[in-house]
């Protein structure tokens, strides 16, 4: 029944409706959308973000911290370069970068460049996520790329972990992705720029909103969001916890699936900086078998008609608790080759083959936005 408001300051409703009169608010003091450009009409080789709603003039609001989410479906193979504030002339030489592809132990690097090489020979579909410090010093960029490479789950995507710099002390207010091949960015390619000042005011709406969560109150093998709203950009974090009361940790899987689908996945990952392991035509993403506790940080692009691309970093996997035992690390990219549905459910599962289970407090959190 609906709450009834009566004369004399009297209200009639259920206990649940009374409880619902008190709500929970969160301050809007983090990343907000300050720029977006979506390629429409025909393919192009330049995406320049000058403000919201594919603005073609003006500038973005300068923010101290920038997060850039790039979904780059390519019409043709191309190298892609990132520049700022129109500093893209062929002789400016204000950029440098260092990149590792698929965990190659020899970085590709250069300086005195006219842009930051964000991806070499990008083809098909790509996810790029950048964190940029945008104060009054030279600009630093930390970025990760998932390069689809080939369609289908028979091929794992490629991964890049990289850094860059722009030798300029002006704050970034426009941002450009330039392809080295004509009309390389397909219709639908999109760059979203989020900004957050160090003293970000509580106003507007934060970009990242929680859309799904789960936390175990007893030991189990499954963390799942249940059905969630379909959002184009996903940020996922998980904690897989062991049985701390025993003082030891146990072997567990990290098997991430979407929409309860058990096919169509591929993963490429490096554990502790070792050679990449590749899994294709698998029933889940990643599948790193390791000890608990573990913490995972993942970003994804989630467009129904495109393969879902993810990159993630994980740490933990310890054989014993305490400062005398170091943690392991895993860097990975993965995909779900479904091209007909958006992700509306995220599940992480431990298989019955493992000796351990996810402990109390293990949790899964998904933030999303379009």
């Amino acid at each position: 029944m609906a709450v009834k408001y009566l004369a004399g300051d009297r209200i009639i409703g259920t206990a649940a409706e009374r409880a619902a009169l008190t709500t929970t608010a969160f301050p809007n003091t983090s990343w907000k959308e300050i720029g977006r450009f979506t390629v429409s009409g025909s393919a192009t080789d330049t995406i320049e973000v000058k403000g919201l709603s594919s603005a073609t003039s003006g500038t973005m609001t300068a923010k101290d911290n920038i997060m850039v989410l790039c979904h780059l479906p390519m019409a043709t193979l191309a190298n892609v370069y990132l520049t700022f504030n129109g500093d893209d002339a062929g002789s400016n030489a204000n950029y440098g970068y260092r990149r590792s592809t698929n965990g190659n132990t020899t970085d590709s690097s250069d300086n005195s460049q006219d842009g930051i090489n964000i991806g070499n020979a990008l083809a098909l579909d790509n996810l790029v996520v950048c964190d940029i410090r945008n104060g009054t010093r030279e600009k630093f960029v930390i970025y990760h790329t998932n390069e689809q490479g080939a369609t289908g789950s028979g091929t794992a995507p490629d991964r890049e972990e990289a850094v860059g710099k722009w030798a300029n002390t002006n704050q970034i207010t426009t941002l450009q992705f330039k392809g080295a091949t004509a009309n390389c960015f397909s219709v639908g390619a999109e760059v979203v720029v989020l900004g957050c000042d160090d003293d970000e005011a509580d106003s507007g709406t934060n970009f990242w909103q929680e859309i799904g969560t789960d936390e175990l109150t007893s030991q189990g093998d499954v963390l799942t969001t249940g059905t969630i709203a379909a959002k184009k950009y996903l940020w996922i974090q998980t904690h897989h916890l062991g049985d701390i009361t025993s003082g030891t940790s146990a072997n567990c899987d990290f098997n991430m699936t979407f929409n309860d689908s058990t096919s169509g996945y591929a993963t490429k990952s490096s554990q502790n900086g070792g050679a990449d392991g590749i899994g294709t035509n698998t029933a889940f993403i990643n599948g790193w078998i390791g000890y608990q506790d573990r913490f995972n940080n993942t970003f994804m692009i989630n467009v129904a008609s495109k393969e879902k691309l993810a990159y993630g970093q994980e740490t933990g996997g310890i054989t014993a608790y305490g400062a005398g035992t170091g943690s392991n690390t895993d860097e990975w990219v993965g995909k779900w080759a479904n091209t007909s549905d958006s992700i509306t459910k995220v599940t992480v599962t431990n298989s019955s083959a493992r000796s351990g289970a996810y402990g109390v407090g293990s949790n899964l959190k998904v933030w999303g936005s379009n």
């Binding site: 608010a25 020899t106 104060g135 990242w208 929680e210 969560t213 740490t315 170091g326």
Partner: protein, 190 residues
Amino acid sequence: MATWVKLATATASSGDSITSPVFTAKKHLKIMLEIDASTDGKWRFGNATIDTGSNYAQADTANGGTRVGGVNRSNIECSYGSTPQFIKMEIGNIANREKLGIGEVVSAATGGGNTPNRKESNFKWVNTSNQINIVQSYGWNTISYAILTVWGSDDVGTDVYPNFSNGTIFEESDTGKIYMFDGTSAWNEM
């Protein structure tokens, strides 16, 4: 619904350390530091006070090179050299669990002619009693510029109460109970 919120900011332009104010602990933390100093630096965490004990372990790799680690440490090395740098961390921050973190660094001397360096780090603070609510980066001798910002997320927000006058009566149709609002935040059963 929960979202990410800014928890703390600190600045420094001298000395060898930068410490956040004590902030509201969240299960998910994101930390960023931009710093220019004469040496590299280290990190420590704490709850109310910084833990200087040998309660840290870490491993890192620089420019894709060999991964090196250390245990029973009194700090975390998540920095690169003496050039200006930008450091970011993601940390799982559950009170009764060891705190696990992932760090990344980009560092370069000024000017377009200097190639940036990078470092990837993973680490833990083995405290299993408290959440991190204070962060310190130290050992930078000497800082000329630094700004440290912490964001976090969990399900704990701020309660927003209904704007009812003192004495408003709520009759629960399913329980038969009757409550009176105190005009600010509480429903008291009558």
